[in-house]
């Protein structure tokens, strides 16, 4: 695992000779500033608060600008920015990281999610995701997840990154991101199903199974 203080801006090798300031700023604007909407979305899912998210976006862009000489031209600016953004955020929230650093067995987390579905089938809440607009409930439930799980779920499930890309952003091994992702999904499902039960939501048993195929990644 990489040290929490290891930042992307310091980790990247310096590959190009210094460009003149105007040229550098033009490429920064084209390649990095253009990713502002992506960073804003990612920051919002980390902080769950618009004002804090905007502060985080600004700090991320400032750090990116100061460290732009370390950015490898042609590499993935979005991933670089996500990494900086995540580092800034976590440095501000250091204490919450500790509780999520244990990587439980990923397959057990998967089984846990399936057992949650079995329970939902039993009480008729298993077509919840088809029947309700879950946007607000998902946002609230995501906000209640510990940071490390939320980061994994947001990167893979909302931003459409692969396990490998998410691991690079989170600064942890792929296996760790995978366990955090699976745990985060299970916790989210539990929260949503529990929310549905509390709201008295139940459907007649026996929904028609639908085909489930691997999904394509989001193109951002």
């Amino acid at each position: 695992m990489s040290s929490p203080d290891q930042t992307a801006e310091h980790a990247a090798p310096r590959l190009a000779p210094p460009a003149p300031a105007a040229e550098r700023d033009a490429t920064f604007e084209r390649d990095v500033l253009a990713c502002l909407p992506d960073v804003a979305r990612f920051a919002r899912s980390l902080t769950h608060d618009d004002a804090n998210a905007d502060d985080l976006v600004q700090e991320t862009m400032l750090r990116a600008y100061r460290a732009y000489h370390t950015f490898e031209p042609g590499s993935d600016a979005r991933r670089w920015l996500f990494t900086i953004c995540r580092n800034v955020f976590l440095r501000q929230r250091e204490r919450e990281r500790r509780q999520a650093d244990t990587a439980d067995d990923a397959e057990l987390e998967t089984l846990g999610a399936v057992m949650g579905h079995v329970a939902a089938q039993r009480d008729g809440t298993d077509d919840l995701f088809d029947r309700l607009d879950l946007g607000p409930a998902i946002e609230r439930a995501l906000g209640e997840l510990p940071d490390a799980f939320r980061i994994a779920v947001v990167l893979v499930d909302v931003e459409g990154q692969s396990y490998e890309e998410a691991a690079a952003v989170a600064g942890v091994p792929v296996g760790t991101v995978r366990s955090r992702l699976f745990r985060g999904r299970r916790l989210l499902q539990e929260k949503l199903l529990s929310h549905a039960r509390d709201a008295g939501f139940a459907a007649p048993a026996g929904p028609t199974p639908r085909a489930a195929r691997p999904r394509p990644r989001n193109s951002a």
């Binding site: 909407p37 979305r41 600004q58 862009m61 998967t110 999610a113 946007g135 499930d157 989210l188 691997p214």
Partner: protein, 99 residues
């Protein structure tokens, strides 16, 4: 003429049968497309034959679709951009700052 078994690419052996427990342990990796070809084919073959597992996979698929749909854009992107560009200018940034 070689007869190809179902679910596999030409020339590869048929997928080994796997049970429900093994199949559901692979659920997330399968839906994320993170399994290798052989394990993927094993899950496909099991899902085609099993009465129970496809429901779990369908439920998980709908859950993931709901998560992906929760992606929310910033409410006032132009305002945020102006603010960021102003902060960058204070650091010496000379770009135009307009999208």
């Amino acid at each position: 003429m070689t007869q190809h078994p179902p679910f596999t690419a030409a020339g590869s052996p048929p997928p080994a049968p796997i049970d429900c427990d093994t199949t559901v342990r692979r659920l997330w990796d399968y839906l994320d497309g993170e399994l290798d070809e052989r394990r993927m084919a094993e899950v496909d073959a099991h899902l085609a034959a099993c009465r129970h597992c496809p429901r779990h996979f369908a439920f998980a698929r709908v859950f993931l679709d709901a998560l992906a749909a929760a992606r929310r854009e910033h409410q006032r992107p132009a305002v945020l951009r102006e603010r960021v560009v102003a902060a960058l200018r204070a650091e010496g940034f000379t770009g135009a700052g307009t999208p």
